[in-house]
């Protein structure tokens, strides 16, 4: 494991690796190691690059070295009643024995994998909060992109390109991102007893109302008891989150409840329980099960999510729940990953993508982790990678 302690060291190590054609597997804390590599590679971690470089709460902007633990970033933000708007999930629970609970996720890893949670639906993904980066490209050059201002169209947006590139285009050394104030109040409206289809309709109706929903998930009966110690009402639970100033949340909750009563019985959870529930949705609590059962993370149009699950149920044993208004589907397969079926139905339902987050070693070796791309897009992506990593040393084969 290579652990450079400075950006200059990182550039030096990478320049040498490029000269020797030594493949490198870029990581932070390596807590999300679900992506397969097609050849062995020397791990290089950002964890030696740690610490907050600049944080002015009044500007709502933070600059941090990429290997800084997420917990350290969140502690600094919490002390100033601020937060990461995109609610990055923690993969350690679902990856169980594969994840390494003793390690800490890093902030660089969050952006390199574009990790977002429930608020992604309305507040954007990690990539939307990322304002600027410093990285080392495959030639060992230190490159800055973006900056620390919210609006910036100066040149090509390499920030977006590197975000979510899973360490295959560059080694992030520093990230600058926007943060938001923590909403003083949070409430959750629960509608009980809806099947998947009705839940999708209810969520679409809710988000069309002027009440600023910041989370919309559907938890079928099979997973209900895995949340908030089983305290959700009996049956299926469709949950809608409201955040903001306390007086405003109260008013909006009343309005929302009044409309949602047409769909089914409505209850409210209150602030403390809401915070727990949405953290558990974020971290995919039902599938923190200590198993190796295949787990898919699927993003499709919100109206397609329940169709996908219904179609797959005819082919395989699956369990599923929905976030992002029904468009983010977490699916645990009883036996095989059934990658062919999953990906074929996604295409048939208008497109999207499936990521194999968890599976046995043997299955992972067979199945591309990330959604295979159409030929033209794959060719373009390969050309872009060659421009950032000409020797092809960063995570060969990881993203196709």
């Amino acid at each position: 494991m290579l652990i450079p302690n400075t950006e200059t060291d990182a550039a030096y190590v990478i320049r040498n690796a490029a000269a020797d054609n030594t493949p490198l597997a870029i990581c932070g804390g390596n807590t999300r190691g679900f992506a397969r590599l097609i050849q062995p590679a020397e791990p290089i971690s950002s964890r030696g690059l740690s610490g907050i470089v600049d944080y002015d709460p009044a500007e709502m902007v933070m600059t941090v070295r990429s290997g800084t633990p997420v917990s350290e970033v969140e502690a600094a933000l919490t002390a100033n009643r601020q937060m990461l708007a995109f609610e990055p999930m923690d993969h350690r629970g679902i990856l169980g024995p594969h994840g390494t609970p003793s390690r800490e996720p890093t902030i660089g890893g969050v952006f390199a994998a574009n990790i977002s949670g429930p608020r992604r639906l309305t507040a954007g993904a990690a990539r939307d909060s990322l304002l600027g980066i410093r990285f080392v490209n495959g030639r060992g050059e230190i490159i800055r992109a973006g900056g620390r201002v919210m609006k910036n169209v100066t040149g090509l947006d390499l920030v977006k390109l590197l975000a979510g590139s899973q360490g295959t285009l560059g080694f992030l050394t520093e990230v600058t991102f926007r943060v938001l104030p923590v909403p003083p109040a949070t409430e959750t409206i629960v509608i009980s007893g809806l099947d998947d289809e009705m839940a999708a309709k209810a969520m679409a109706a809710a988000i069309a109302l002027p009440v600023e929903i910041s989370g919309a998930a559907h938890l079928p009966a099979s997973v209900r008891s895995r949340f908030i110690d089983g305290a959700l009402p009996e049956g299926e639970a469709t949950v809608l989150r409201l955040e903001g100033l306390s007086a405003s949340v109260d008013v909006r909750a009343q309005k929302l409840a009044a409309v949602m009563e047409a769909f089914g019985p409505v209850t409210k959870l209150g602030m403390e329980t809401s915070l727990t529930l949405w953290r558990q949705i974020r971290d995919v609590a039902p599938y923190v099960d200590g198993t190796e059962k295949p787990l898919w993370r699927v993003s499709v149009a919100p109206s397609a999510g329940y169709h996908l699950v219904a179609a797959l149920r005819l082919e395989a044993g699956i369990d599923a729940f929905y976030d992002w208004q029904g468009g983010l589907v977490w699916m645990r397969m009883e036996a095989d990953p059934e990658a062919e079926f999953v990906r074929r139905y996604i295409r048939a339902l208008g497109g999207g993508h499936a990521t194999l987050i968890r599976a046995s070693e043997a299955a992972r070796a067979q199945i591309p982790t990330f959604e295979p791309l159409p030929d033209a897009v794959a060719a373009l992506s390969a050309r872009i990678k060659a421009k950032l990593d000409p020797a092809g040393i960063f995570g060969p084969g990881k993203m196709g």
Binding site: D157, L161, P181, E212, G244, G351, E371, G400
Partner: protein, 477 residues
């Protein structure tokens, strides 16, 4: 004294084949889609950056993606530069052609293809105007959030090319944050789709890379954008301050307090006078600077936010606080702001800068900006999006006086360097175009520019797409 901005020298082999190229284009497209008569080409000579103009070789106005693909395939094969154009409202010269270029205008691809409320998306052709999306869905309680001042005219294709912002992006983000998918034509005529109605496209974030690429990576022909539920209400409030410094400090304190209004717009005294004379918006004329702060939501929420904001403004010795009493009054307040550029154009020629600076540097940059324009003997009016630090100093000059015009350009360059040196950037939402191209070295190292150009080459190795823009002409390698 700076030199006039250069364009790439025209490719002689293209110019010499002009007649044959026009014939070929007429073979590829219906006859009415190819424009080549000199007098008909005039409207395409420039865009809203009117100091520069070049007559293009021809203009094509295709109606379908396959026609766009046919033109790209042909131009790629024959090494003919292509300059994409939406409505031609670029303030940085992004759509100004060159003598050897075919202008590819998307204005005839102006159809809304699908509105899907269940998924809150609109799929539109690239030539659809920004405002027409909100107009189409407004009756059902939705809108499309990015709202550049030119939204009545500018197209969604152009918005994607420039990653356009607007007054309300403090809360809702800019184009890249509201774009879900595109259909686009690559330089060789291949048609690809990125993203769709789902979130976070698979693979590299090519959609994010494409957004703001100023027509250099390909031609967008269709886009799927996010629709958002309209807030219950919105209330702009005017705050008048003694000085620009007080107003700037107030903005920083509002953000620091944890309140994020949907918009915070700033006008200094010259801008107030210009806009009031034009729009009769009822702006106070006895103040040194004005903030328009807009909050939205339910009545309860707006009341609560405004109470906090007014409290902060009082600490900055606010002179005037005026809440609108009616929707008409609110519309008038925005009309004044959104017509700022047009109103300025009535009294003088101007160039509009677009640098963005960290909020903590707003007051400093405002002060230095007026020192710079003073030193050139020029006037400046400041009207800008203060909540996100995106400055828009309008430098006034007389275009009939070439010396003054050059002075204005030079002062503009100094102001943009100031923004970069203050930790900001050259352009927040107008794009680099030709205008800021030669300042790119002030913001980026050679290695950084080379990296961007290398990525560009993955799309367009031969520099056919909008080639005179964004990157300095020297050192392209």
């Amino acid at each position: 004294m700076p030199e006039a901005i250069q364009f790439l020298p025209p490719r002689q082999e293209v110019l010499s084949r002009r007649a044959a190229i026009i014939d070929d284009l007429r073979g590829l497209l219906p006859p009415d889609c190819v424009i080549h008569e000199a007098r008909e080409l005039v409207p395409f000579e420039t865009d809203a950056f009117i100091s520069y103009r070049r007559m293009p070789l021809a203009v094509v106005l295709p109606r379908t993606t396959s026609q766009v693909a046919a033109v790209m395939k042909y131009c790629h094969r024959h090494g003919i530069p292509v300059v994409p154009r939406g409505a031609g409202t670029s303030l940085s010269g992004g759509a100004i052609p060159q003598e050897d270029a075919v202008v590819l205008g998307l204005s005839r691809m102006a159809r809304i293809i699908e509105i899907d409320y269940a998924n809150r998306t609109a799929t539109v052709q690239a030539g659809v105007t920004n405002l027409s999306i909100s107009d189409a869905v407004g009756i059902d309680g939705f809108f499309y959030a990015p709202d550049p001042s030119s939204q009545l005219a500018c197209t969604i294709g152009g918005n994607i090319g420039m990653n356009s912002g607007g007054a309300h992006c403090l809360k809702y983000g800019v184009t890249t944050n509201n774009l879900l998918g595109v259909k686009l034509v690559l330089v060789d005529g291949e048609v690809v789709e990125l993203g769709g109605k789902h979130l976070d496209a698979a693979g590299y974030d090519l959609l994010g890379l494409f957004c703001g690429s100023e027509g250099q990576l390909g031609i967008v022909t269709e886009a799927t954008v996010r629709l958002i539920a309209k807030p219950e209400g919105a209330r702009p409030v005017l705050f008048g301050f003694e000085t620009s410094e007080e107003a700037g400090a107030c903005v920083a304190d509002i953000i620091a307090s944890g309140i994020i209004p949907v918009a915070i717009e700033f006008m200094d005294k010259p801008a107030i006078e210009i806009c009031e004379a034009f729009a009769k918006a009822g702006y106070p004329l006895d103040v040194g600077a004005l903030l328009i702060v807009e909050v939205e939501g339910s009545e309860a929420e707006m009341d609560a936010m405004l109470e906090n904001i007014v409290g902060i403004a009082r600490r900055h010795k606010v002179l005037t606080v005026r809440e609108c009493q009616s929707a008409t009054e609110a519309a008038l307040i925005w009309k004044g702001r959104k017509s700022a550029f047009g109103a300025t154009g009535r009294i003088a020629d101007y160039i509009c800068m677009d640098g963005t600076v960290p909020l903590s540097k707003l007051s400093y940059v405002l002060k230095k900006t007026s020192e710079i324009t003073d030193s050139f003997g020029l006037r400046v009016a400041n009207v800008f999006h203060a909540g996100d630090g995106n400055m828009h100093p309008l430098i006034l000059f007389n275009a009939n006086d070439p010396e003054e015009a050059m002075k204005a350009e030079e002062a503009g360059n100094e102001i943009l360097k100031l923004c970069v040196d203050a930790g900001g950037c050259l352009t927040g939402e107008h794009g680099v175009g030709i205008e800021k191209r030669d300042l790119m070295r002030h913001q980026y190292t050679q290695a950084e520019l080379a990296q961007q150009m290398a990525v560009r080459a993955a799309f367009d190795e031969d520099w056919i797409l909008n080639p005179s823009k964004v990157f300095p002409l020297e050192g392209r390698g």
